[in-house]
């Protein structure tokens, strides 16, 4: 469940509360996503150079909300939700913030001596 944050970034509510139906029939779910996106932009000071970029990032943000919900189901002992990376696609995230070469243990690496682990 993505956490709702106030503009100051503190948690105001650990769960997304189901928004009651509005008179004008606005889709509550959409309202929630837009609401979260505006909090996200405020909290992480996100500014997009064009309306087109903004809309593109909003689409990615919505997909990442769903991804956070999936992660929450797969990883219930942690809390998953909106982070500073919520407007990045998984591949943008990997390309920008990860950076380990394809990993194999170098065969010539020294093996650490076995240490005693009792008392």
């Amino acid at each position: 469940s993505a956490e709702a944050f106030s503009a100051e970034g503190s948690e105001v509510d650990p769960l997304i509360r189901q928004v009651t139906d509005r008179q004008d029939g606005a889709e509550p779910h959409l309202l929630t996503e837009e609401h979260h996106f505006s909090l996200f932009k405020k909290r992480f000071k996100k500014i997009y150079r064009s309306q087109e970029e903004h809309d593109h990032r909003f689409r990615i943000f919505k997909a990442n909300l769903k991804r956070a919900e999936r992660h929450q189901k797969l990883d219930p002992s942690a809390t998953h939700g909106v982070t500073q990376f919520s407007d990045l696609t998984p591949s943008e995230f990997r390309r920008t913030y990860l950076g380990l070469r394809r990993l194999r243990l170098p065969k010539d690496a020294n093996e650490a001596p076995i240490l005693p682990t009792d008392n």
Partner: protein
């Protein structure tokens, strides 16, 4: 082995973020080892590794450390051993890009590698090396970290394909898991994405099943006591 252990409480972990995770993991482990050897906590230069370390994995042609395109902690330790050591962060500050030339100044070395080795995929051995030798350079699969906010992460399913370098700074015997009402032993990991991510920049991941490959590639490093020189 103590039930709980945390190098942050012993002053062996510097603050700080960095975009190049493999150099972040390398400098973090050497900072801890240098603290153990000299009792001084020095923030070491990731930028020196990004600009100067192009060490290759002898077993894999073309697998060389290369700034923002990725690197390996073991190759970075090898570079540091050959180059003589790392400079302080303040003497070789982080610029966030890898287009600069190498500005290494041997006269300003702040920490030297004595040796480094790989710890077997055995959680007791990892914990013992952590307690004895200081924070450890580890690799992990970071797929759940993009949405992680807090708590003990223990995904039912997580790839062990390693794509991120972090620093193992401690472990806890029980992290309260509200949903499944279970106490979970966990590793405490320092990540390089700043204090607004995770638990003030730290990540907790449960122990016991090599979750997300966290036990697969663990390196420990020993530093030379430069006080005596």
């Amino acid at each position: 082995l103590p039930e709980d252990f945390d190098w942050r409480e012993k002053g062996a972990v510097t603050p700080g973020t960095c975009g190049s995770c493999w150099s972040f993991s390398t400098t973090g482990a050497l900072e801890g080892a240098n603290f153990l050897a000299t009792r001084k906590l020095e923030s070491l230069s990731e930028q020196q590794l990004v600009d100067c370390d192009h060490e290759c994995d002898p077993e894999e042609a073309g697998s060389c450390d290369s700034g923002c395109n990725g690197g390996l902690m073991n190759s970075a330790f090898e570079y540091t051993l050959k180059a003589g050591g790392l400079m302080r962060e303040e003497d070789y500050p982080y610029t966030g890009n890898d287009r600069g030339t190498c500005k290494f100044d041997k006269s300003k070395i702040a920490a030297k590698v004595a040796n480094f080795s790989v710890v077997s995929l055995d959680e007791d051995q990892i914990a013992a090396n952590l307690v004895k030798n200081g924070p450890l350079a580890v690799a992990i699969n970071a797929v759940f970290m993009q949405t992680y906010m807090k708590g003990v992460s223990c995904p039912y399913i997580c790839s062990k394909r390693l794509d991120h370098g972090v620093l193992l700074v401690g472990y806890g015997s029980a992290g309260y898991a509200p949903v499944r009402m279970k106490e979970k032993p966990y590793w405490i990991i320092k990540n390089s994405w700043g204090e607004s991510w995770g638990e003030n920049g730290f990540y907790k991941i449960c122990r016991g099943r090599n979750i997300c490959g966290v036990d697969s590639m663990v390196s420990t490093v020993a530093a030379v006591n430069t006080n005596s020189q």
